[in-house]
């Protein structure tokens, strides 16, 4: 199978990669680039744990061919904090409201929460619950997660 050269800007850093056409964006981010904050869970687009931003919009990394996003700007959970390590206000809020238990859904939850806040800086609780509907948490954490996003709602 022929390899393709692709260029990705991940959290502001440029990468040139050689990928097979059947390589998935999630695996390229985790294995080739080495950023393991983005998680593999269901692999069938049901859980949202693999959420990353592609050109500013959240998508499912496990359902996206890496070759299909050649040239894209990608943001993962690692790109949210400041370079000096200062956490994003939403990350702080997740800690404050105990929105993290096992942590497997957390990267996806924070990115989808951030997406909502970027589009609607003052979402209501029901708007939050609707927007995060595609992200599953198996530790019963939805109340904490909703509170965390609500805390950042202006």
């Amino acid at each position: 199978m022929k390899k393709y050269t692709i260029h990705l800007t991940v959290n502001g850093e440029k990468h040139t990669l050689e990928v097979y056409p059947n390589a998935l964006l999630l695996n390229v981010i985790r294995e080739d680039i080495g950023l393991t904050g983005t998680k593999y869970a269901c692999g069938t687009g049901q859980c949202g744990a693999c959420t990353v931003e592609v050109n500013g919009e959240p998508v499912l990394g496990c359902m996206t061919l890496a070759v299909a996003v050649d040239g894209a700007e990608i943001k993962t959970i690692e790109g949210l904090a400041q370079p000096d390590g200062t956490l994003d206000p939403l990350q702080e809020a997740f800690l404050d409201t105990n929105a993290v238990q096992c942590g497997f859904c957390t990267s996806g939850m924070i990115l989808i929460g951030k997406d909502l806040l970027n589009k609607n800086p003052s979402p209501s609780e029901s708007e939050i619950r609707n927007h995060i509907k595609g992200n599953l948490c198996r530790c019963t954490g939805y109340n904490g997660i909703t509170r965390a996003i609500l805390k950042c709602s202006k």
């Binding site: 022929k2 998935l24 695996n27 949202g48 499912l60 359902m63």
Partner: protein
Amino acid sequence: MEMNTRIISHEFEYFAPNSIQETLTLLDQHGSEAKIIAGGTDLVSQMKMGKRTPAYIIDIKRIKELQYIAGDMVLKIGAGNNLRGVMNFFLPASVPYAGLYEAIRSIGKTQVLNMATIGGNLCNGSPKADTAPPLLTYDARIKLVSLKGERILALKDFHSGPNRTIMEANELMTEIQLDKLPKGTSSAFEKKARVGADISKITCAVTVVRDGDVCRSCRIALGAAAPVPMRAFQAESMLTGKIMNDALTEETSQQVAQEINPPTVGRTHPEYRRHLAAVMFKDGFRRAWQQAGGGK
């Protein structure tokens, strides 16, 4: 093949054409061995499970020519628009097309709405496609294009069986066309699924044209109720030109339940699907009727 959702294990060649013309040439060369990918939310999942193993993948996500929504008397929706774009176009839930807005919203998952396209939702051929029932009630037409020319056909003639359509291997769906709906029209969409943001168990879309207490016409379509997304034509005819009352709604709902052809295998019992079809028609009809009457 054993299910493995971490990787796509089969090999293929990938093309990312920049125009419709380029796509048609590729389709003409590779035909039945090729599969078009847009959002990939269905296809990638099927490839992971080994259900589809195309030798060539033609990615149409970059083709700007397929991403437009325009028109007055005929609204033309490019097949390459993502679902979020189509949903936002009909925001705030414009009364005549409320059913389509509600159907896309019911898919629920923000990430999927960003990835998946309206053309993909139809071309995938699923009897459960959420956009199909409302589009059927709008008498939508689709445009299929190949190197040999183009054809425009009614959406109701597009699906030919579970996960099958009448589209030829060298064809590309480029556009969905909706006629402007008459004054007094409204529509609604009802969906039953196991949990939020899930695949439908059954769906029902209703579009009514109301004139005071008279139902000028009513169009009813259901998803996941038969091998293909379907219209309930006999039930529709019971309402044409009638003065509405609860008994007539009830009688029509029983006809809707009779008219569906639910699968006998799978986790939902056919009788339960029939029961749901009747209830969902009534709910959808009442909402559409009220909206069409300005809330009355």
